[in-house]
Amino acid sequence: MQTKIARQYLDELARFFPHALSTLKRLAQLQGTVIVIQMTALAILLAGTIEGKLEMQHQLLLVAVLFATLVLRHWLFGRFEQHASQLQFELEQKARSVLLQRWRMQAKREGVLAEDADLFLTPIQQLGPYFVRFLPSIANAKWQPLLILGIVLYFDWIAAAFLLLSAPLIPIFMAIVGMGAEQISQRHLESVKRLSGLFLDHVRHLTTLQIFAQTDRAEARVETGSERYRKLNMATLKVAFLSSAVLEFFASIAIAAVAIYVGFSLLGFFSWGPATELTLMSGLTILLLAPEFFQPLRTLAQHYHDRAGALAAAELLRSKEGDDNAATAIESEHSRADVEPQFQFKLSELGLKVASYTHQYQDGAMVEWPSFSAQAGQIVCLKGPSGSGKSTLLQALAGNLSMANEPQPFTFDPSKYQQAPIAFLQQRPFLIHGSVADNLRLIAPDASGESLQQALRQVGLWSLVEQFPNGLEQAVGEQAKLLSGGEAQRLALARVVLAPTPMVLLDEPTAAVDPDSAKIIIEGLLTLAKRGCLIILASHNPQLEEIADVVVTLSSRS
């Protein structure tokens, strides 16, 4: 069932590149054909020379054919690689934009974990080989053996029967082994993800682990994690190796059997059937073609793990249940990618009505939101004990809470709200790895250095930034080390000052902040309100309650 969904994902991706895929398949088959011609010509030339039956002009012709196939193989090889690399590039980029689309939807439901960021790199890299190696090798595996079988059948049906009989055994055995490989590979990918999650968690809290003298335990956990990873890996590999050993075994045995059969026929051991008519030329042709009969299957086996890897990756990349399928996701991605925030409406047009509403969490806990309404330019303060759903209400107002099956408790006056950007400052301010300027330009990419400076001044950060060796271009460091909690919060607020939005949502803006920072933040909020922003904040701080036009008290319901 799971694999079915994963396969569906791969099929949908393939549908975007029908021509490129069929070109690749045809190139693979052409390569196979040229190899067959080359081997046949070689056999005829060798046998003819040994037996001395070949005329000079035929010999020359065969040499010419051999050189032609040499050039052709070289050329086809190059063409194939060129197409393959182009297709891989486009395909993986497509998968990335599908993933970005999925993240959008997922963020509003269950959220996206930090370790999910890795989906953007490793699993997507596993998709390409499936399309550019595995699928073409399947196409050739259906073609080249058939062609060879035809030629061998023409010379000797018993040798053909050897090949024909051993060939179907291979896919059967491989399918049996392969089913196990797939399962193990899926488990394996999940554990790689878990392993990288373990590292992320342990590295991020390294200092804490050191202070609490937990490093020995952490090391032990990392070691067992790696060891588990190795065992899983070995399990996958053993199965994969076994399946190719099965293939090689049958191939070797069949080649040996054909060789011995041909040899005995030439000696005249068999006085019946086609064996009596076998010559050195036909025998040698059969012998030279026999390995090539199995070669496409061996190539296929080599790329078989590409399929397992791609399926396991698709399983992770595939949207969770309830999502639209990837194709529509891609469609809407195209239509929405160009939508830039539109600031053209007037801030004063916004008004908000919230109807009383009981929200139920996934674990069953319930919170009650009372009704309230507010106008542009007002400040609303949400208060209530911790766990009463303040942050959840803010998420809902930000449009980040999926309430698809529930009646929408909000009404906004102007329909333009749909496209309105909302400034949303969470308790832990969101700062990117980059400079002070990068963090501000995240919202206003075209802002001049001057206006950045202006915004920083308004939140009281300029005097600090000015002192940095690199000024605005100073990297704020991992987890914003250079900035205190209050400064990080103010840097986030500077974004709003730089590009005010109709609605500004703040979660505990003064919780981890000193009184002076709090004062600056409060002044900033008042200025924003004066400029026409509707400000909604959740806080325990009585100072914020004082400046609020509307105070809403939330309570949990048990």
Binding site: L70, L100, W103, S226, A259, L483
Partner: protein, 551 residues
């Protein structure tokens, strides 16, 4: 030659040495690889000889060659399977050793370095670099050795019959091997290094994007962030594919060479072998087939060039990481004995902060043993930095800090940590059970003690509701707790710690006033007899204290 170059290369040396140290494993691996290659050559060439001999030689002995063919057929399958299992197991074992060693080095660094880690960077190091190193033996060291040995054996064998054909094989394949290895594209290394940087950039940007999804979406700037990320990955992927193309070109060239050698050997055999002797006629088939058999050991060679760059780049970064760790190692052994009872802590004209930024100057103060203090100041005034300085994480830029009569810098950090109970400003709960998080502070605490302290911070009810009780699993970033709940759990952990110095950074942030006042009083029994420093931005946000220090 490539071999000596590997050995001299400081980036590869430590890793090569750890491969060498497992002598039996790598010798077995090489022998099995060679056996696999020789069996394939043997199967093909013996079959060719057999057929030709059957056709042209009267009364040829058939049972020995027939058995030989069957032997090679089975040997080839068996040795390949064993070779793969043995070598992959070998490489994965090496990886476990390397990975654990690397993490150990990280934990042995002075703790303040941990703050400087870039997460994207470290994650990449753990996963990508160690993965890249697995090519070291499988792709970089073993294949050229096996190819050289196989070529020598085959050319000796062929040379026995036709000196010229043997020489052609030896020289021709030497050229292929040289092209793929010794002429190692130097740019392969710089390219791999660039690729690593690009990968890291994409990873960091993807992490940022994921972390900011909700805010970016509310701002309506998500499409822009997505476009930027796609553009970055486009650039990265082009670099990645360039490597593949390079490898493909090498493979294409090798294939062309191989076929030219094949044709040359055929031509030479035709003209130089005394074919009048019927006994020698089958050689005409056998010698070219031996060349074809070499395909197998040659076709893995184009990977060598690329692997070289990847392994060297990964090895260099890991080596630096390990070296860097060595320089700043802090050793628990040179410990000064620290009194296990409260001591005065005195600060003399402290200047603290980072080289880029001094946050507090001329700080002089004495914290008396077993007294409670509040350090009040606005953010940016250096509260958290002062805490880190007292903790020993951020050494003072100037001035002196003494614990009792000992300067802090003379104390061994691990011993000092064992005396300090801490509640940091950021989230510091690991993804593990509630009990495990609490027992970080006191490994021997009983369940009863845990419940009592949870009761005090008003979390007991929340955790009792959970089916796993104390075994409740905290997700990454304690996402299944609210901000206030996580804060209170960290407070509970700080209370459990037996150390005599308690550092609490904004202990009540995100907790509403009424609850805060209740908790403040209830936790006092845990704090009495200890030196307690509250770091807070207002008086109200601190607990009851004997003295306030404003900074």
């Amino acid at each position: 030659m490539w071999w000596s170059r590997y050995r001299r290369d400081p980036d590869l040396k430590p890793w090569i040495e750890s491969v060498y140290s497992q002598r039996l494993r790598w010798i077995v691996g090489l022998v099995l690889m060679l056996l696999t290659g020789l069996s394939a050559i043997g199967l093909l060439s013996l079959s060719g000889w057999f057929i030709a001999a059957c056709a042209v030689i009267v009364g040829v002995e058939i049972y020995v060659p027939g058995g030989g063919i069957r032997f090679f057929a089975i040997a080839r399958t068996l040795s390949r399977y064993l070779e793969r299992v043995s070598n992959h197991d070998f490489v994965l074992k090496l990886q476990v050793i390397w990975r654990t060693r690397l993490f150990k080095t990280l934990t042995q660094r002075r703790p303040q370095h941990a703050l400087e880690f870039r997460l994207g960077h470290v994650l990449q190091q753990f996963t990508q670099d160690i993965d890249a190193l697995d090519s070291l033996f499988l792709r970089l060291m073993a294949p050229p050795v096996v190819a050289v040995l196989a070529v020598i054996l085959v050319s000796l064998f062929v040379g026995y019959f036709s000196l010229l054909a043997g020489a052609i094989i030896l020289l021709g394949f030497a050229l292929i091997i040289w092209q793929s290895t010794a002429r190692l594209p130097r740019q392969s290394f710089s390219h791999a290094a660039r690729l690593q940087t690009a990968t890291e950039q994409v990873r960091t940007q993807a992490l940022d994007h994921v972390a900011g999804l909700l805010e970016l979406s509310a701002w309506q700037v998500l499409p822009r962030s997505e476009q930027a990320l796609l553009k970055r990955s486009e650039h990265w992927q082009k670099q990645r594919l360039y490597q593949q193309q390079h490898q493909a070109r090498q493979a294409q060239l090798n294939q062309l060479w191989l076929q030219l050698i094949l044709f040359a050997v055929i031509a030479v055999s035709m003209f130089t072998l005394p074919l009048a002797n019927v006994e020698l006629l089958p050689l005409l088939v056998m010698l070219p087939l031996a060349v074809l058999g070499l395909t197998e050991v040659i076709q893995v060679l184009p990977q060598v060039g690329i692997s070289y760059g990847q392994v060297k780049a990964a090895g260099r970064r890991l080596r630096r990481r390990l070296q860097h760790g060595n320089e700043s190692r802090y050793s628990p052994t040179d410990a000064q004995v620290i009194e296990q009872t409260p001591q005065d802590i005195s600060c003399q004209d402290l200047q603290i902060g980072y080289p880029e930024r001094v946050v507090l100057e001329h700080f002089t103060c004495c914290f008396k043993a077993a007294q409670h203090y509040a350090i009040i100041g606005r953010s940016g005034r250096g509260k958290s930095t002062l805490l880190n300085t007292i903790l020993g994480l951020t050494p003072p830029l100037n001035g002196q800090l003494k614990v009792g009569s000992e300067p802090l810098e003379l104390l061994a950090l691990p011993t000092w940590f064992s005396q300090v109970s801490l509640l940091q400003q950021g989230a510091s709960l690991i993804s593990a059970s509630v009990a495990e998080n609490l027992r970080m502070a006191n490994a021997t605490a009983s369940d009863d003690e845990l419940w009592r302290v949870l009761e005090a911070v008003e979390l007991a009810e929340r955790i009792r509701q959970h089916p796993d009780q104390l075994g409740m699993w905290l997700e990454v970033d304690s996402r299944n707790l609210s901000g206030g709940q996580a804060r209170r759990l960290m407070l509970a952990r700080a209370l459990l710690h037996p150390g005599w110095l308690v550092l609490l950074d904004e202990p009540f942030a995100g907790i509403d006033v009424a609850q805060r006042e209740r908790i403040k009083l209830v936790i006092q029994p845990w704090l009495s007899g200890k030196t307690v420093l509250y770091f807070a931005h207002t008086e109200a946000a601190s607990g009851p204290v004997s003295e306030q220090i404003k900074i």
